[in-house]
Amino acid sequence: MHLERLDFRLQLRALIRKELQQILRDRQLIFLLFAMPILQLFIYGFALSPEVDRLRLGIVDHAGSSISRALAASLVVNGVFEVEESGGTEAQLARKVQDGQLDAGLIIPADLERRYRSGQKTRVQVLIDGVDANTAGIASGYVGQILAAFNRQLTTGTQLPGELVAPQITFAYNPGLISSWFFVPGVIALVLNLVSTLVSSAALVREKDSGTLEQLLMTPVSSLQILLAKIVPLSFLLMITVFVALMVAFLVFHVPFRGNLLLFLFVSFLAILVGISIGIALAAYSENQRQSLLTSFFVNLPVIQLSGAIAPLESMPEIFQWMSLLNPLRYYVSCVRAIILKGVGLEEIWPNVLALAAYALILLSLSSSRFRKQLK
């Protein structure tokens, strides 16, 4: 009995060593494990930014007075708008917006000065290209605020302070509104999911593909040992991937790490187990590497899209929010953001951790029993 257990451990250790060597020899897997996360983090972090600034604004100023010039100046002062050639007439301005050469237009009527002197209300037309609904919404909010401030400036003669309610707004967790702080934690989760499924399915299906799996089965090792020998070194290497990603987040994007590192590593380990289980399942159902790789598209596309890593979950229609409850990556994404940015602990995020752990357990046992059944 005692000897058998010793045998099991020795065999497992030998298998693990073989696995590690095989993975480290494979340039494609090394690229996936270490280069791809860095590449993805760079592109996502530097490319995605919901900033609303430098909108190209064309101005048709029929008034040509000092007030109209002051109004135009107030719109560009904080960098939301940049004045570009408008063409001089309303028709040309409209054409330019329609052709996508301008993002916004301002039309100031000729009687602005006269009406202002007589204390009458004047309407100025602001048109914004609404194709990008999100940017247009925020930009029109800015226009409202800028004009409210401009009016306050004009009417300071009344000696009243400009506003009645003064919201003292603070931005929590990300006071500088740096967009990479939002995307980078999401991308860590996304990349980890991608890498762990791809690498584990590749490592397993390759053995099937080349027929070495049968050779392994002829040896005294059990299918449990074969599977464990795949999972242990992969989880170890993927934990290094997590570290690499975290270093990029710190050194390149200066994302703060406010929470508990151990908790972060623990949930990352759970996420890795989920990814590996998906990879095992892909390998179990595929004949060769090509098939498992192509099938992974069918799994990873919805898993990533419904995880909240890029587009926030709260913005999705309700049915997709419900569907995302079935998605293990969703729990990891919200854990990562909560730990890194909010710095909250287990008492706030335990439901997410619990869900992730449950998924890891269920998926791992389902996929490994499926894989082992195939071996018999």
């Binding site: 609404g130 990008d132 004009l154 929590a172």
Partner: protein
């Protein structure tokens, strides 16, 4: 030319035989359209906001009503002892504390401060919330105090092309472009690398077909398949998202064809560089997909991309076609102003065609 056509028939016959690639060509793009089109929303509606009022007066209640009047913000329970409580719990995206003297201050015409903390981990919606809170404050001031709220210059903001700010009109045309980049190029890469992996390319090398004919044949076959994908996707997005072609139809079709050709040629190019099919898939996935998704202006405006990276977007076909799809389906832009789009796309396609054929020519045995 006959050799090119027989190449085309052979490619299409091979393509139809494999069920997995068929699903990849026609089922997954449709799923992707659904996921991108319905589930990609940048701006949140119904954002939970927790308000705690220490003021018992009617004015604070009136203010809270204004805050939640637009449905963009919805009330959430105020949990925890301090203002960070609801945010840490993740129950609310913003917390507002109204001080005890609020009603008194407002009634006397003084400025009442309120404390607002916004969860800025989602940067975009943090701005949306900030705008909502400020707009609510301005509206409240105007409705309370005529003198103060008097605005001499009133902006009349009109949102063109999309007055209801329907995000589907932004996301769906972009998604069509991104999906029509990803899948045709993936299929073409698979086809090209399969020849290499299975060694059938050697037969082609020793046959009389030239590398220019070989690439042309493959590209034609897969562009035809891509056109079928495009018809399916566009029909689906017309039915699901109510898109209508409002731009110049000739311009759109022209851009579509050269765009699909450049996607297919990029895939063929990747296929000649990779030695196995899985390496080819990985190559297009890492170089093609991420750039098409992130550097094409699909999610956020192109001008927001950081400098050295923004240069790459200029050589991406997907960037031009995202623009063309928005012009064709939403803006209805003029023919002449859009000429640069098919021009850029066709020069890209031509470049890829020449490069790929040249690579293959070097591998080919001299006849």
């Amino acid at each position: 030319m006959r050799r090119v056509f027989s190449q085309v028939t052979k490619e299409i016959a091979q393509f139809r035989r494999d069920r997995l690639t068929l699903a990849l060509a026609f089922f997954l793009p449709f799923v992707a359209l659904l996921l991108y089109g319905y589930a990609t929303r940048l701006e949140s509606k119904n954002i939970p906001v927790a308000v705690k009022s220490y003021d018992t007066g009617t004015l604070s209640r009136a203010y809270i009503d204004t805050l939640f009047a637009t449905n963009q913000l919805v009330p959430a329970r105020f949990r925890g002892s301090d203002i960070m409580g609801p945010l840490d719990e993740g129950e609310a995206k913003a917390a507002i504390i109204i001080p005890a003297q609020f009603s008194r201050e407002v009634a006397q015409g003084r400025v009442a401060d309120i404390q607002v903390v916004i969860d800025a981990s989602d940067v975009n919606n943090a701005r949306v919330i900030k705008n909502c809170v400020i707009a609510a404050g301005n509206y409240f001031a105007r409705s309370r105090d005529i003198a103060r709220g008097r605005q001499l210059i009133v902006p009349q903001v009109r949102l063109w092309f999309n007055p209801g700010r329907d995000e589907a009109l932004y996301v769906a045309p972009g998604a069509i472009a991104v999906i029509l980049w990803i899948f045709p190029c993936l299929l073409a890469a698979l086809a090209m690398s399969r020849e290499k992996e299975q060694g059938t390319i050697l037969q082609l090398y020793v046959s009389s077909i030239t590398s220019f004919e070989l690439v042309l044949g493959k590209a034609l076959a897969y562009t035809l398949i891509a056109l079928a994908q495009a018809v399916l996707l566009i029909a689906a997005s017309m039915a699901l998202f109510g898109l209508r072609l409002v731009g110049d139809p000739f311009m759109f079709v022209l851009s579509l064809v050269v765009f699909l050709a450049s996607s297919v040629l990029f895939g063929t190019f990747a296929g000649t560089r990779a030695s196995t099919q899985s390496a080819a898939v990985q190559l297009v996935a890492t170089t093609g997909f991420t750039t098409a998704l992130l550097l094409s202006g699909f999610l956020y405006p192109l001008r927001n991309i950081t400098y050295p990276l923004s240069l790459i977007s200029n050589i991406l076909p997907a960037r031009y076609f995202v623009e063309e799809c928005r012009n064709a389906f939403v803006r209805g832009a003029d023919f002449a102003s859009q000429l640069y789009i098919p021009l850029a796309l066709s020069s890209c396609a031509l470049f890829l065609y020449l490069v790929t054929s040249n690579i293959l020519r070097k591998m080919q045995l001299k006849g």
